[in-house]
């Protein structure tokens, strides 16, 4: 299929700044800070619909915002919470969630504990994947950070231990995080939305997760390398229409994992105005549905290399190449309905994404991004990777392009308006 020339009308939708105002004030001689952010995007694709939106007609259903409050109670103890809401096509659906809310006690720089709902550290950006204003790109590489399952990976209800240690002989700094807790997926996320294609309607999806992250700020100035690991025991419950007996109507549904882990390796190099990142993630997931009527093993691998350069005070340019592949094998009585997918050269089993982006900082709090994606492949129908048959019933095209704009602002305190 030849590529079509993308003709895009880009709209920059602005959000009223008066709705949010960063503030700080004193309470019992302690400073309380309020911060907020919001973003609005517009996406157009020339062929496939993407991220549950009808992007082939252009879609502005790409909104998110959050607000937090935090307080440093003592030198070692702080508390805070953030609410988050988003509407991404058919995901999120404006249902606000508690993004994080925890108490943090840092005994020493090398040892601290957090408890509550805590952001999950996994690779360079998992815990900040919804904070687009931190980077030049409107969308992180979807091979490693699929935005449609953001809520599934971004936080856990539990505890962390963390710290950083300066190594002797100027060997740099080691930072670590170890955590355990409960993951609870939104019913408006990519997993549950994708499952509805197969007649499954979840009432709950979640479970135990634990893992850790180790990163080394090396003696080479600006170079950081690290590795993360997460293990999970996530199960789902709900109802479904059994394809073997559809006349019986809705029947109880349950799935439970046999294997569920993710390994991630990463590096970051910052020199002057240039930033280069690279990450590799492998996710292996095997599950059993309803005691064995379906057994699936899914192996997802993704990596990317990105570069961004601030060419002027208000302008940054960036690019990345992101490569995602998936294999899938099934067993059990329902297996014929889910044919094995093992050839990652097929467009149904990969997404290769070349991205160009420009970020303009209008001022300290406002920025606008223009981003183009040139994709090959559309991934698998059994894993939420951006493409859903529900919004493209006529089938997917192999080559497709996407252009988007995002206009966002975030408000911060810390300046002169104390």
């Amino acid at each position: 299929m030849h590529r079509q020339i993308v003709k895009v009308a880009l709209f920059c939708l602005c959000v009223g700044q008066t709705a949010l105002q960063a503030q700080e004030f004193k309470l019992f001689d302690r400073t309380i800070q309020f911060h907020g952010f919001a973003s609005q995007g517009f996406i157009y694709t020339n062929d496939n619909n993407w991220l549950t939106m009808h992007t082939s007609q252009g879609s502005g259903a790409f909104t998110d915002f959050g607000a937090n409050v935090s307080m440093q109670i003592t030198d070692k103890f702080r508390i805070g919470a953030q609410v988050y809401d988003r509407n991404l096509g058919n995901l999120g659906e404006w249902h606000p969630s508690l993004d994080w809310a925890f108490a943090d006690y840092r005994f020493k720089p090398w040892f601290g504990i957090r408890g509550g709902k805590v952001k999950t550290v996994l690779g360079l950006y998992n815990d900040t994947q919804d904070l687009d204003f931190l980077r030049p790109f409107a969308l992180l590489p979807q091979s490693v950070y699929p935005t449609d399952i953001r809520d599934a990976s971004i936080a856990h209800l539990g505890g962390d231990i963390y710290g950083s240690v300066s190594l002797r002989r100027r060997l740099g700094t080691i930072s670590y995080t170890a955590y355990a807790g409960h993951r609870s997926d939104s019913l408006y996320s990519g997993y549950t939305y994708l499952a509805s294609e197969f007649g499954v309607h979840f009432s709950s999806y979640g479970g135990l997760q634990y893992g850790g992250d180790l990163r080394w700020n090396t003696p080479v100035k600006g170079l950081l390398i690290g590795a993360s690991r997460i293990d999970q025991d996530v199960a789902g419950k709900g109802t479904f229409i059994n394809p073997l007996n559809p006349g019986a109507g809705f029947a109880p549904y349950s799935d439970k994992p046999e294997t569920d882990w993710t390994n991630q390796y990463y590096g970051e190099y910052i020199v002057g105005k240039l930033r280069i990142d690279s990450e590799y993630r492998r996710f292996l997931h095997a599950q059993v549905v309803n005691g064995g009527i379906l057994e699936t093993t899914t192996d997802v691998r993704g990596w990317y290399v990105s570069g961004a350069y601030r060419v002027a005070k208000r302008l940054a340019l960036g690019s990345y190449y992101s490569r995602y592949s998936i294999t899938h094998v099934a067993g059990g009585p329902l297996a014929p309905l889910f044919p094995d997918q093992t050839d990652t050269s097929l467009p149904a089993n990969h997404v290769y994404d070349k991205v160009l982006t420009a970020r303009v900082d209008l001022n300290r709090f406002w920025n606008v991004k223009l981003e183009g994606h040139f994709m090959n492949g559309y991934g698998s129908s059994i894993f939420p990777d951006g493409f859903y048959p529900q919004v493209k019933p006529t089938g997917f095209q192999t080559q497709h392009e996407c252009a988007g704009s995002q206009d966002e602002f975030q408000l911060l305190e810390g300046g002169t308006n104390a």
Binding site: G66, D75, G272
Partner: protein, 231 residues
Amino acid sequence: MKIATTNLKRLLVAAVVLLGSGRALAGDIKVIANPSVRADTISVAELRSVFLEERRSLSDGSHVEPVLAKGGPAHEAFLKRYLSKSDDALQTYYRTLVFTGTGSMPKVLPSDSAIVNYVARTKGAIGYVDIDVPAEGVKVLTILQTGSHAERKLVVRIEPEYPETLKRLQVGGTVRLQITISPKGSVDSVELLGGSPILAEAAVKAVKQWVYTPGPSPTTIEVSIPFDPKR
């Protein structure tokens, strides 16, 4: 005529001295703290840790909170020398802390004088300003280039001789030196980092006579020697 020649000579000497003394090099800074901070010294690692919000107290228990400049040569020099981050990267770092709940946005002030005023009246405040900015009401911290474990106390301090001509001509300023202290406590080497070059000779001569408490290994620290013609 003789009087005119003498005056001309004096003027020439003054001009040479003034040109030679120059001002402190652009980006020369000093780290200041509220008097509530008990420490007189701070290691580079501690300083970095404080400004990256990894700690809110020093090893002696003093409460500290960082204060940043909005921009300028002192700000750029501080980021480059002690944090190894650009301003853009540092802002991103703080925003990451704020929106993941792991830290606060520090106070940012528009000028050196505002920083000195704020640090002077705010318990635990620690900031940085141009080396020539008067530090009234605050204390100037000596930066230890090596780890905090190597902290050394000054036991013998010889004040530098202020060259009479320069004092008379009101030439003053601060000389910034990096010195290496031997395990026995003597000053082994001195390197000029910044400040008025014409005053450096006197400063170096004095500092070489300083004696510190013994330590397990050589220690490298940064010291600032003020020359105030009004004193």
